[in-house]
Amino acid sequence: MTVLDMRDVRKVYRSGDAEVVALDHATLAVDHGEIVALLGPSGSGKTTLLSIAGGLLAPTEGSVVVDGEDITGHDARRLTAFRREHVGFVFQSVNLVPFLTAEENLLVVDELGGGKGGRAARERARALLDELGLAARGSNMPSQLSGGERQRVAIGRALFNNPGLVLFDEPTSALDTQLGEQVMELIRREMKARDTAAVIVTHDTRMTHYADRVVRIVDGRLTADPVPA
């Protein structure tokens, strides 16, 4: 079944008189549990595509359906609630709340959704941290964590609400190759264990073998690699 279904999506940025077509007739479908790598040069529209897929940005044209919900016409308020419940984000730079511990950074998502941060939520946060190899780091502040550990906390936050789709924008670009590969391996394991779909933006071809499928983007247009055997 399809988790992400983008059809004929076009995105035009206007700044003054200038127009930039960041996405042009982009059509992309991602199935449950499928991991798609989105590969393209700088400025090709990767972040724009992720933003539209995750309901951070409205497309100029085309339609976006996530988890069976058509979000094309949603207003800002509905998109906020939608993001909270249906998608997880892992950003390029580490964006943890600096004055919260690792565990509390996961619970933020629960609190934003009106959760009380009760025992069940805390246990779930601990289990997730354990899975991510951070069992001993739960009460550390972000400043006391290494770059790789922080990125893993961010992955935990993205997974906390059990979203059907997780979007990664260059999750390893701030890490060295070895750490980057560890994080990619972890992402793959976690996605497969949960049957969660993922779109992973990267411009590093060494990372694409962690994906089930590679989609290339150049100047806002998508071209798919043949599906590997």
């Binding site: 993001r83 390029q92 730079s93 964006n95 709340v97 600096p98 933020v108 670009s173």
Partner: protein
Amino acid sequence: MSLKLPLRELRRRPTRFLVATVVLAFLSTLLLFLGGLLDGLYLGSTGAIRAQDADVIVYSSTARDSFLRSRITADVRSEVDAVDGVDAVGGLGFVLLGADVPGEADPADVAIAGYELAPKGVPEVSSLYDGQGVADRRLEDQGVGVGDTLLIGPAKTEVTVVGWVEDTAYLQQGTIWVNLATWRQVQNANRPDAAVADDVVQALVVRGSGDLAAAIDTATGGATSTLTVEEAVLALPGVEQQNSTFNQIIYSTLVVVLAVVGLFFSLLTLERLGLYGVLKAVGASSGRLFAGVVLQAVVVTIVAFVAGSALAMAAAAALPSGVPLQLEPSRFVFTFTALLVASVLGSAISLRKVLHVDPAAAIGTSS
């Protein structure tokens, strides 16, 4: 709605909020001081009139609502007595003088007040002999004690203090309540230029019902000008000017509070735009983020107010007794409420910034 995040930030990064808290604490102290001075001046000016257990006060129409200029004759008094709705009428007279206190080098400032209808807290006038008076407690600071015989004014008229009353000062002087005969004696001995005849008083206090002021002024054919007790309080010299001057300073200070809170929290919001972008991306609404800003402003204000109050009380205790500073509970309530309103309004300046944070900006930025 859970607002753990802003509260945790306050608890874990208190130093971020320190400067704003200290500035607001000093502003709270300043506000309490200004308000305390205003209250002290107001209460010290008006006590004798506020204490009147009456509905209206009758002046002669030429007096322009001043006791010192006012004279009511026996004829006018009987006209007032006859007005429908008037239940009781009493004479009233004031004279401000220095008084020698036994054992004290400096004379005390006193107001000798002659009365017939007892003000609130003052004993019935029939309990006082000629030459006796009950004194306002504030005279204790100037060395007056019960049993002392004071020598009033240049004529050194004797008045013996036989008891205390509270909160009845008149124009910053401690009032000594005496019968009308004693008041006339003091007035005529010390102010021969403004002597009063035996059946003359400065003003009348009247108890009754209905539209007394209009009825009395009509009955006397315009010989009187009648005010309610509240109007008479404001007609005292300087009271309205004091009120408006101090209130202007107090409201200007509140504008400064508003500016401090507004500036501080909009700078803080500016610093947090990146974090707000991320929180919006993971599902925080603008309303929740803004509520967090307001909550922090309110908490900072409460802490600052508590610290500022403690400082104001310590400073008030250290001040010499001559300073008319009076810290009333109502002043604390007013100042606290005004600070809260100013801090909510001040933090509201950040609303636009919070609303305009674009969650899409959180993604793809590498800083």
